[in-house]
């Protein structure tokens, strides 16, 4: 367990180990083999940020570059899944879902249901999300909420290298379509990852740290921020429990409710826009099923209801920060009825 690797290396290792284990696993996407005009594996870069680097040399034609048409790429992957393969396709940025959404929500998500359980669609769509890279409004969004809305899709948001490997292996072995959301800012995060293959079940929240006073439910990149806030507030005698749902669909309601039952206060940190989001979803869950536990109103820390700004100064204040999370936690502990 002492071995540390990066989040993006953990993703690469999961793909590598699953491709070695099961010949039906294939990888498809834009530039997943090599860079533009790549001259064989010597020039291979392996995806826009190098996550699939090295796989082409090992697995050859099982790593497939696709044309720049997300609709064709995702459609082909969904069809391959329905006919016996286990494709992992890469939708470079989650923002591009718009051009292939029919393949995802009307086709992949519906096959099992509409064919009476006789068809399965074991496809994984890996995709990058999140702001902080000066990549402007069309390459920075957090659209996992949209996928979470659709029955028939499973939605995964690993927040650490350990979770990235175990959840991706689970995603590949799962017989339903899985949207695997990777935050760009986490790619360089380092953490303990076993060399052996392992899988983390979906719908099992991780209690990142235990606490008594306030529950912070945080998603993806926000888990790290929540941990920093919990460290800072511990010095002031405020004990925070940090819960990472790990998957937004299925969602581990019990762990969140049990935690709020214990603390009586809830702060939800969701990098997405605030309307119809995980923040509102979790908030309604606790308001409905855990109302009696609450000692203070639920606080939500989210981006504002605007596109992601290109201006750097504006982008920095757009993203939920540890300061905003701390203020939200204090609002729950300072609350007087």
């Amino acid at each position: 367990m002492a071995r540390k690797i990066l989040y993006q290396e953990a993703i690469n290792e999961a793909l590598d180990q699953e491709m070695a284990r099961d010949d039906a696993v294939i990888v498809m996407g834009e530039d997943v083999v090599g860079g533009t005009g790549a001259n064989g594996e010597m020039d291979a870069w392996g995806g826009v940020l190098g996550v699939t680097k090295g796989l082409y040399g090992k697995y050859g034609d099982r790593i497939m570059d696709s044309p720049i048409s997300e609709s064709a790429l995702v459609g082909a992957a969904v069809g391959a899944a329905a006919t016996g393969m286990r494709p992992v396709c890469e939708l470079m940025f989650i923002d591009f879902m718009g051009v292939c959404f029919d393949q995802i929500y009307n086709q992949a998500a519906k096959f099992r249901y509409m064919f009476g359980g006789k068809a399965e669609t074991p496809v994984v769509i890996r995709t990058m999300y999140g702001a902080g890279f000066r990549a402007a409004a069309q390459h920075s969004q957090c659209l996992y909420n949209v996928f979470t809305h659709v029955p028939g899709l499973k939605v995964v948001m690993p927040s650490s290298p350990y979770d990235a490997k175990g959840l991706l292996i689970q995603a590949i072995r799962d017989n339903d379509p899985v949207i695997f959301c990777e935050h760009k800012a986490l790619y360089a995060m380092e953490g303990d990852v076993p060399e052996e293959s392992y899988s983390i079940p979906f719908g099992e929240a991780n209690i990142v740290r235990e606490g008594e006073d306030v529950t912070i439910v945080a998603l993806g990149r926000m888990v790290t921020h929540a941990g920093k806030v919990a460290d800072a507030l511990a010095k002031d005698g405020i004990s925070c429990e940090v819960v990472d749902p790990r998957t937004t669909s299925p969602f581990d309601e019990d762990t969140v409710l049990e935690s709020v039952e214990n603390t009586g206060r809830l702060v939800i940190v969701d990098e997405s826009n605030p309307r119809c989001s995980m923040a509102t979803d979790i908030s309604s869950l606790v308001a409905q099923k855990g109302f009696g536990f609450l000692k203070a109103p639920i606080e939500m820390v989210t981006a504002p209801h605007t596109p992601v700004p290109f201006n750097g100064a504006l982008e920095d204040i757009y993203i939920p920060s540890p300061d905003k999370i701390e203020a939200a936690v204090r609002a729950t502990t300072d609350y007087v009825h």
Binding site: M1, A2, P194, S197, Y198, P201, E204, R209, E210, T255
Partner: protein, 370 residues
């Protein structure tokens, strides 16, 4: 002013990786007299919570560490001094101690776990940890679903005057998950091969739970290689076993399923912390572990009955046989310690559960060293 009369109580170091501990609560008050081995406070580490027992006797003049404080190993927790020492002297002592105290550095990345070694036995890779140099050898064998970290509080103290080895059994910890032969006899043969490969000609074999049955089987089949055998909360010497715990452990996938099970392992359920549950779930998620656990469990029990009974061979063993049990063991009842042949020394530790070597570490260590 005589510092000689003042004795500090400092944060203990429990296991290789501990660099700090959190004070949960004091069990003694200022100005009370402490005897050696008295429970003085609860401390929580990254791995487990435990009770700290007094290493020195004396009058507790000052509780320095406060509940909820997280302090480095060696940090000042309290001060023992006789009545005649003045408060001013104690204040001066504390000031000087704090000024000179340097908390331990977190281990360098490359050092973390650097002490673990691996050994190939045929196709199997076995992880082990060796500590200490001494005239005799001790081999520690963990139980079902455990790993060598269960000897966290045992191995280092014993290593003060012995060469002490702990290993991950096949299917466990970081050893190969392909168990090949998961029977007690099969696992005992792994222990013998392990000793042969490392040139351990003979050793005191200590086994916990299933590891006890393996230790006993090793002694029965290799009397020349076993100097003494100690069985802690051991399988293999009675019929009853909490089969629900074993099958629940094999099936559990989530924290909510695992937590109530692990609480059955200890007399004080407060000892089961988040990290302990997390580590076990991380182990269980590895490919091949569930299959390995099913294979091994089918080798020594069926429902609530153990299928391996080695009691008949104990009376003829030429080496000392010791049995240690926590009176509150909910996995294998302490009643199995009674009715054993006369060559067995039995110690029952009151109020502790199945993981007695963690819960009552200093008592168990004393028994292992005697």
């Amino acid at each position: 002013m005589s510092d000689a009369a003042i004795t500090p109580i400092t944060m203990p170091k429990w296991g290789l990786s501990m660099i700090e501990g959190k004070v949960i609560e004091w069990h003694v008050e200022e100005n009370s007299t402490i005897a050696l081995g008295d429970e003085i406070m609860d401390i929580e580490t990254e791995k487990i919570a435990n009770t700290f027992e007094a290493l020195d006797a004396g009058l507790l003049r000052r509780c320095v560490a406060q509940p909820d404080e997280t302090l480095g190993v060696g940090a000042l927790l309290g001060v023992l001094a006789p009545e005649e020492t003045s408060d001013a002297d104690i204040d001066a002592y504390i000031t000087e101690f704090q000024a000179n105290y340097v908390p331990p550095e977190p281990p360098e990345e490359d050092d973390a776990g650097a002490n673990y070694e691996w050994l190939n036995l045929g196709e199997q890779k076995i992880r082990y940890l060796r500590m200490g140099e001494g005239s005799h050898n001790i081999v520690l064998i963990h139980g079902f679903g455990g790993d060598l970290d269960l000897w966290l509080f045992t191995q280092e103290p014993l290593a003060a005057n012995a060469s002490v080895y702990s290993l991950d059994l096949p299917g466990h910890g970081q050893s190969s998950k392909d168990v090949e032969d998961g029977s007690v006899a099969g696992l005992a043969s792994v222990v013998v091969k392990f000793m042969d490969e490392l040139g351990i000609s003979s050793a005191h074999i200590v086994g916990h739970s299933l590891g006890g049955a393996i230790a006993l089987q090793t002694a029965i089949s290799n009397t020349d290689k076993v100097d003494a055998v100690t069985l802690i909360g051991s399988a293999g010497i009675g019929e009853e076993i909490n089969g629900g715990y074993i099958s629940g452990f094999v099936a559990a996938e989530s924290r909510r399923e695992m937590k109530p099970l692990l609480k059955q392992l200890v007399g004080d359920p407060g000892l089961v912390n988040r990290k302990m549950i997390d580590d076990i779930l991380k182990f269980k998620r590895l490919d091949g572990v569930t299959e390995a656990l099913i294979e091994i469990s089918s080798g020594f029990l069926s429902g609530d009955k153990q299928t391996v009974d080695l009691r008949g061979a104990i009376a003829d063993l030429p080496m000392p046989v010791n049995v240690i049990w926590g009176s509150e063991d909910q996995i294998i009842p302490a009643a199995h310690a009674s009715g054993l042949p006369d060559n067995v020394t039995v110690n029952i530790l009151d109020g502790f559960g199945h993981l007695v070597q963690l819960e009552a570490a200093s008592d168990v260590n004393k028994l292992l060293q005697s």
